[in-house]
């Protein structure tokens, strides 16, 4: 039971809003010591796992490319492009991205999207511009809601698309786990059962994205009298 102390440390750390890096380190040390590993062994286990997982941070290599293009007007060009598309709205744009992301993930191409590569430089600026073209300058709250929804569309489409592909990590994990328990299944038998959930995800989140347009229109209308300058705020 004492090994659960680490989970308590995580929860307490987030409630007290301490720096998550400190919280995670404290939780790891607590768990290791409570689980009988000893302090030095816990530090070794943590260091070894951190080193083995360096590949996760490879994604930051794209930042020099994205930064170089941003200084040359990439976000502005994304805005210009979407401003020319008649009938483009934030909700429809994000729905289009959602479908494209879900389909490519289902074909195993999970690296085609992502937050540093696609959402920050292209999708979020386009989603903002689509509402700006319709409603003029946006209040900050609306601007940040649109950005958050851009990231959310990427995540949700990825999660409920990728398992349709037979060689994705989670499908292989399931297959390996069942094998250890004496049950043999083929990846295809698993991945077809991800399809019903993928369809439901498209229906549910697609509906929310269509409704997002109405919500944006209502919020802009409410904020209009006293927030004329909000459109100047850019980052």
């Amino acid at each position: 039971m004492w090994v659960l102390l680490g989970i308590a440390v995580v929860v307490a750390g987030f409630v007290l809003r301490l720096n998550p890096l400190l919280v995670i380190l404290a939780a790891a040390l607590t768990t290791g010591v409570a689980g009988g590993l000893g302090l030095v062994e816990t530090v070794e286990a943590f260091g070894s796992a951190f080193n083995d997982n360096r590949y996760i941070s490879i994604v930051w290599l794209v930042l020099p490319v994205i930064g170089l293009l941003e200084r040359s007007g990439l976000q502005e060009q994304a805005r210009i492009l979407i401003g020319k598309v008649r009938g483009a709205t934030t909700g429809r744009l994000l729905l289009g991205y959602f479908v494209a992301r879900q389909v490519t993930a289902a074909l195993g191409q999970t690296k085609l999207g992502g937050h540093p590569q696609m959402v920050r430089p292209l999708i979020a600026p386009m989603a903002e511009a689509a509402s700006e073209t319709r409603h003029g300058p946006l209040p900050d709250a609306v601007r940040f809601r649109i950005r958050a929804h851009s990231a959310a569309a990427d995540n949700i489409a990825l999660f409920f698309g990728e398992d349709i592909f037979i060689a994705i990590a989670s499908i292989l994990l399931i297959k390996g786990f069942l094998e250890q328990n004496g049950i043999i299944v083929q990846p295809l038998e698993l991945s077809v059962w991800a399809i019903p959930t993928a369809i439901v995800a498209l229906l549910i989140h697609g509906t929310r994205l269509v409704l997002l347009d109405r919500r944006i229109a209502a919020e802009v209308a409410n904020a209009r009298p006293d927030e004329d300058a909000a459109g100047e705020v850019r980052s």
Partner: protein, 322 residues
């Protein structure tokens, strides 16, 4: 043969540059902390593979103390003004998208095609990590094309990269930290204890109860761990297999496939899934990016809860029928 180690060296070199350039940034009051943090991360990428586990552990503790106490500063490298950017967008037009698209296209080609290329019997790419290696290659290509096309100052990619990296800040290593925490949890046997508790407390006398316990358990444990992969073996061994599959006769392929997706609903609701929920909030510079439930998570919660219910219903209707 190009291995992942090459890409680690490339990443290490980029972090060395971020570190050195931070030291010269007088606009950043904490510039030497940034220098030390990105420098230590560079050491991890360049030499982590040669260090003992204890050295790597101490290195992580150094990173955590640097960023965790007092935080990092945010560098302000000189960049272009909004007017210059608009002019540049008009000048280059849609050609600006070319370097951005080189990265995913190279990753795609790398996975599909370069992974097969052999030179004198030796594969060109380490067959274990073709996608990550292709990603690194794509970045190098994109920088080359971008520099030739845009003709910016020579240091522009590294300075602009540092600007974005400082916007992400300490959250840059959060996903790696959480993966390491998961490893310690696994070593200490946290999962078995949690799974045992759920199985002991809930009376499994109807298939729907077992399905709800499994799906909600997957989602909740994923919220705590930040990763459905960590929750899956635990919850499936404790609830999914013994109750949903063996006691009530559910189809194991359907139960596991949908159970994993129920876990993904948890991923959408937790700051512990840092690379999906915290990193974008930093990248998009949301004002509430340090809150436990930031804007990205709040945007996802309604869909996540509806999807959890949908997964429970799908498992209940499909698993005992096929």
């Amino acid at each position: 043969m190009i291995t992942l180690q090459w890409i680690y060296i490339l990443a290490g070199a980029v972090f060395v540059a971020f570190s050195v350039l931070s030291a010269g940034d007088r606009e950043n009051p904490k510039r030497f902390k940034n220098t030390a943090f990105w420098g230590l991360l560079a050491v991890s990428f360049l030499f982590g593979g040669y260090f003992s586990d204890l050295m790597n552990g101490l290195l992580v503790i150094g990173l955590v103390l640097l960023a965790g106490i007092g935080g990092l500063g945010q560098g302000k490298p000189r960049t272009t003004s909004p007017e210059e950017r608009s002019d540049s967008a008009v000048k280059f037009g849609n050609r600006l998208f070319i370097p951005a698209l080189i990265i995913p296209v190279t990753a795609l080609l790398g996975t599909l095609w370069l992974a097969e290329v052999e030179i004198g019997g030796t594969p060109l790419f380490d067959p274990r990590d073709p996608t990550l290696i292709a990603l690194g290659l794509g970045v190098v290509l994109a920088i080359g094309v971008g520099m030739a096309m845009l003709k910016p100052p020579v240091m522009a990619p590294l300075q602009e990269g540092r600007r974005l990296m400082d916007a992400v800040g300490w959250a840059a290593i959060l996903p790696q930290m959480l993966a390491a925490l998961g490893a310690v949890f696994a070593l200490a046997g946290v999962g078995e204890v949690v799974g045992g508790l759920i199985a002991d407390v809930i009376p499994m006398n109807a298939s729907l109860i077992a399905v709800v316990a499994y799906c909600v358990g997957m989602a909740l444990f994923t919220v705590i761990m930040g990763n459905a992969f960590a929750a899956f073996p635990v919850m499936t061994a404790a609830v999914g297999l013994p109750f949903v599959v063996f006691q009530f006769g559910g189809n194991p392929a359907i139960v596991c496939a949908i159970g994993m997706l129920a876990g993904f609903c948890g991923t959408l609701m937790t700051p512990m899934a840092a690379n999906f929920n915290v990193v974008p909030a930093n990248l998009l510079e949301l004002p509430d990016r340090n809150a436990a439930l930031n804007g990205v998570i709040r945007a996802q919660i309604p869909t996540a809860l509806m999807m959890l219910v949908a997964n429970i219903l799908l498992m209940q209707f499909l698993a005992f029928r096929f």
